[in-house]
């Protein structure tokens, strides 16, 4: 790699069958280094919780993984046929269109039939609000619709940024179930969150970011750390 170049590429053959692999990824905004030499991979079946204080670089790292932001340096390699489902701070929905029109658009693009679309509506409790425009529904409903959109077509890799921040308990339970089922089917998820209390139960791995760099990884080779001990260290550090 050149010193100031970055590559986001599908892998031709993948060692260890990781769905995404990052090597030495760096991202700067002006003079500040937001993501600092991050390397890690995510394999099928893994649910990675990405922890870190505000401004630690979680959202930028997720956007780099989803190929929505280009890294300044390093390699981001995704599986040859890996499709990414991303839900972040923006809903990626059109506020003037109804919830149904938005999700129908994605269903049509992804080749999902009407019964599949109906299942999505019922899974996320969107039947009653489907004809309302996105601008007219609550933030919680917008988040559910955004998650439904991200999960449409069963993408192999889920990249979720604070997915539970606007969700009530029932919707969070749906989210946990969906993530667990997704991982059981061989998919993977990378989730940035501050909501450990509600999402820790689905995690198979925890990665902690500080000032853009990975400072703890519960699956690091030679590290006997468990998810619980990494989370505990993170909590003490951020008190």
């Amino acid at each position: 790699m050149g010193s100031e170049s970055a590559v986001h590429q599908p892998a031709r053959s993948f060692e260890g069958a990781a769905l995404v692999e990052l090597r030495g990824v760096v991202k700067r905004f002006g003079p500040s280094v937001v993501v600092n030499n991050v390397s890690f991979s995510c394999k099928p079946g893994e649910v990675v919780l990405l922890l870190g204080a505000n401004g630690a670089g979680k959202s930028t790292l997720l956007r780099i993984i989803a190929n929505l932001v280009r890294a300044d340096r390093g390699v981001v390699q995704t599986g040859a046929s890996t499709r990414v489902g991303y839900a972040g701070h923006y809903t990626c929905l059109y506020s003037k269109l109804s919830v149904r029109a938005n999700l129908s658009l994605y269903a049509a693009i992804l080749g999902i039939d009407n019964s599949g679309l109906q299942r999505t509506f019922s899974a996320w409790g969107l039947e009653e609000v489907q004809h309302k425009s996105v601008a007219d529904v609550s933030r919680g409903v917008q988040s559910r619709a955004s998650l439904a959109r991200a999960l449409m077509g069963e993408p192999e890799l889920l990249v979720l940024d604070e997915p539970s921040s606007n969700l009530d308990e029932a919707s969070t339970e749906t989210l946990r179930e969906v993530i667990s089922m997704h991982a059981a089917r061989g998919g993977a998820a990378i989730i940035a969150t501050h909501d450990l209390a509600r999402l820790q139960s689905v995690a198979t791995r925890v990665v902690v970011l500080e000032r853009g760099a990975v400072i703890a990884d519960s699956s690091a080779a030679g590290d006997s750390a468990t998810i619980e001990s990494v989370v505990e260290r993170y909590r003490i550090r951020n008190r």
Binding site: L68, R70, L93, A101, Y106, I109, M152
Partner: protein, 229 residues
């Protein structure tokens, strides 16, 4: 290719649905056109300009109003895309930036063309000019201009939309680039109004065609880069 075209059709439907739901661009275009044309009509009338001179300056006035109203309304061309970052969801679903761009250009061009038709009606009434004899040619010029203008405006609104200075950047970037279109438009409209047809061998249809093709080419290849920021 069939899937590519069916996705493009879906995106065109989406663009049209967003516009029809709010009618913001249509309302802004039509209101500005009627008001500015009425003001120009009143100004020309109070300046006591004779009928021959009015007929000579009519094409220039039509084009000034057309470019003014379309650039005013065009700040909204990429707004829906950037507001909720809808384009990111589409890109992740496998839609290309080219498809997003073309769908926007086509719907925006239809809006601009509708505005051109209204503009001809209102301005010819306000300045007491008949355009019936050359309406076919004028509609053809309007169609070419609407497509050229839309190709540029959608691209520029993407650039401006990702900047904090979007309100300033859009006219600053687009107006100089629209100069060839303005010249071609005024010349072609003048030929129609004064001589009853586009002069055979006129270079201006070529100027309009080349600038439209250039804007389309840059937009098709660059829109995704532009909106990603």
């Amino acid at each position: 290719m069939a899937h590519w075209l069916s996705v493009l059709k879906l995106l065109i439907w989406k663009e049209a649905a967003i516009e029809l739901r709010g009618r913001e661009c249509l309302t802004l275009l039509f209101c500005t056109t009627v008001v500015v044309a009425a003001l120009i009509g009143a100004g020309v009338s109070s300046a006591v300009i004779d009928a021959t001179t009015t007929r000579k300056i009519f094409p220039m006035l039509v084009w000034v109003v057309f470019l003014l109203t379309t650039t005013t309304a065009s700040a909204r061309a990429s707004e829906a895309e950037l507001e909720g970052r809808g384009f990111e969801g589409l890109l992740l679903a496998g839609v290309s930036g080219t498809q997003i761009y073309l769908s926007k250009v086509l719907v925006t061009a239809v809006l601009f063309f509708t505005n051109w038709v209204l503009l001809l009606m209102v301005t010819s009434a306000a300045l007491d000019q008949s355009v019936k004899a050359v309406i076919g040619e004028l509609l053809l010029i309007g169609a070419g201009a609407a497509l050229t203008l839309a190709a540029l405006i959608v691209l520029i609104s993407g650039v401006a939309g990702t900047s904090r200075l979007r309100g300033v950047l859009l006219p600053l970037l687009s107006l100089p680039l629209l100069f060839p279109l303005f010249l071609a438009g005024v010349e072609l409209t003048t030929e129609c109004i004064l001589y009853g047809a586009i002069t055979p061998g006129s270079v201006w249809p070529g100027v309009m065609l080349v600038s439209g093709a250039a804007f389309l080419l840059v937009g098709v290849n660059g829109y995704e880069v532009v909106v990603r920021g």
